[in-house]
Amino acid sequence: MWGPALPEAWPAGPYAGDGPASGLTSAQKAGVVPARHTRPDTPGPTRQVRQTGGPPAWRRSRFRPTVARVTPTHLASEATTSTVGLSINGRHHQWDIDHRTSLLDTLRERLGLTGTKKGCDQGQCGACTVLIDGRRVNSCLVLAVTTQGREITTIEGIGSADGGGLHPVQQAFLDHDAYQCGYCTPGQICSAIAVLDEAAAGWPSAVTAQQPDGYDGPVGLDAAEVRERMSGNLCRCGAYANIVPAVLDAANGEQR
């Protein structure tokens, strides 16, 4: 069943066709349906290298920042793009990718998979969490060119794409209203899915109690474990009070 008290239809926003105040329906927050602005699956233009003219004033100042410089001689000697084959949510894509492009930007700007969110873009907030070969990572710090041949799963790929069913973690987030604005939610859900796998695989955490010598079996999750293991996903709305029970619910397999 759907979560409590989240209306499916909201008053129209200032622009025709606008959704709810957050711009996302509750189903979109939980990644059940794609967010708006999805694009056809076609390669975008290769990002242009911005060539600068003479040195700006700050470059002549005493504290010259060591910022990136475009060196034409270097560009001439070495390719700065590569053709990369990526497998995303079970579909294969091949693109010419600028080496500087993050996996996050590739997902959002090339594929239109905007479920994965850009928060801090420096690995501190977890909004961009996706699974690579089943493991959770911050896609903002992954260079897309390094993911050749890896299986990438985003929030759009974890449920049944043909409307069949929600992933148990998605259902638990709906049941517990485990979000407010919803921006961190896709990252929270991807992270939580991996947390369940990691605990089942016996991975300890900083709060895992000392086990009998030699024990490396599954770890039972409680609230302290969930808080520690999910600490890489920040929620500025402070929805943790519902996120923790949602993850515990999913861990215990309690479906409603």
Partner: protein, 336 residues
């Protein structure tokens, strides 16, 4: 960000050759620090050589040595049953660091080579001797609460941010390095250098030298009786304000052998040789540990906002060794 060439190394030699061919080339591990620094403009390589697919196994050698490939992910290392059982300080240190996502990405080699999180180093609009020697250090009179108190210099007071490296230092780990002129084995005291008047280099590695593995000595009563404690500003997912890795064995209440290394107090993981020597052979009491750590930090040169770290280090060290020796009720121990 400056455009750069990219290649995935097929072998250590392949990687070394690729970096030696370009003076502006760098090795890429998990990217958790390097990609961030590139985006900030702190590092601007012309070529990135991906070594994250190399040396990804943990092997038990005949003599009992545990050889950890430089490409092993932090999460795999922390969960390894041999590490958890025989070198608990290392597993605890890894789990105390970063987040689940970052530990899945970060490699052992990259963790050792991560750069300081000093605010001025990461802000290219500010002077920084570590980023550009000779421009000055605003931290001394600016924000230095998180920075170093010992081993620092007039030109730099940055700290090394790694938790893992503190545990490895206490456990007498050895870094295996390959390079254009051959292989080297370095203790972490030899691997890291102090800033002196050239803070730009954190380690003694030359351009093109690649960490291939880290070796832990065969397990012993000492390594099994090791642990890690970390003080930080929030309960999880924060760099240390201070940390300690310790190990101790006792015979009739007297210290048979002991290891102490501190994190977040110095430009490198700070192996407390002075404190260890003071403790060895004596009765292990809280007072003795406090006095030994005070002797270690007698050479400290704290600044107004980070002087508290000396007391913090003492308290961490006393609590760590007391816990390991069973001198305190376990329930009284804080979080690691």
């Amino acid at each position: 960000m400056r455009p750069f060439g990219y290649r995935q190394a097929g072998s250590a030699q392949d990687a070394i050759d690729a970096v030696m061919a370009d003076t502006e080339a760098v090795f890429l591990g998990g990217g958790t620090n390097l990609v961030d620094l590139m985006r900030l403009g702190v590092v601007s390589p012309g070529r990135v050589v991906d070594v994250s697919g190399l040396a990804t196994t943990i092997d038990l050698l005949d003599a009992g040595t545990l050889r950890i490939g430089a490409g092993v992910r932090n999460s795999d290392l922390a969960a390894d049953p041999r590490v958890r059982r025989h070198y608990p300080a290392l597993s605890q240190a890894l789990l105390a660091g970063a987040s689940g996502q970052l530990r899945n990405m970060a490699t052992v080699g990259g963790n050792l080579l991560q750069r300081t999180r000093c605010l001025y180093f990461q802000d290219v609009s500010k002077p920084c001797n570590k980023r550009q020697n000779g421009t000055g250090c605003p931290a001394r009179t600016g924000i230095h609460r998180d920075l170093g108190v010992i081993g620092t210099s007039e030109s730099c007071i940055a700290t090394h941010p790694s938790d893992m490296a503190v545990a490895l230092t206490a456990l007498d780990a050895v870094a295996l390095v390959d390079g254009p002129t051959g292989s080297r084995r370095l203790s972490l005291d030899q691997f890291y250098r102090l800033p002196g008047d050239d803070p730009t280099r954190d380690t003694t590695l030359a351009h093109g030298e690649l960490i291939t593995a880290v070796e832990l000595p065969p397990p012993s009563a000492l390594t099994a009786a090791s642990g890690y404690r970390k003080a930080r500003d929030r309960a999880s997912y924060a760099f240390a304000v201070g940390s300690v890795a310790g190990a101790v064995t006792l015979v009739d209440g007297a210290v048979q052998d002991v290891r102490l290394a501190f994190g977040a107090v110095a430009p490198r993981p700070w192996r407390a040789h002075t404190a260890e020597n003071a403790l060895r052979g004596g009765q292990l009491t809280g007072e003795a540990v406090a006095a030994a750590i005070d002797a270690e930090f007698a050479a400290a040169e704290p600044l107004p906002d980070n002087a508290f770290k000396i007391l913090l280090a003492r308290n961490l060290g006393v609590a760590m060794l007391s816990d390991l020796a069973g001198l305190r009720d376990e329930a009284a121990g804080g979080t690691r």
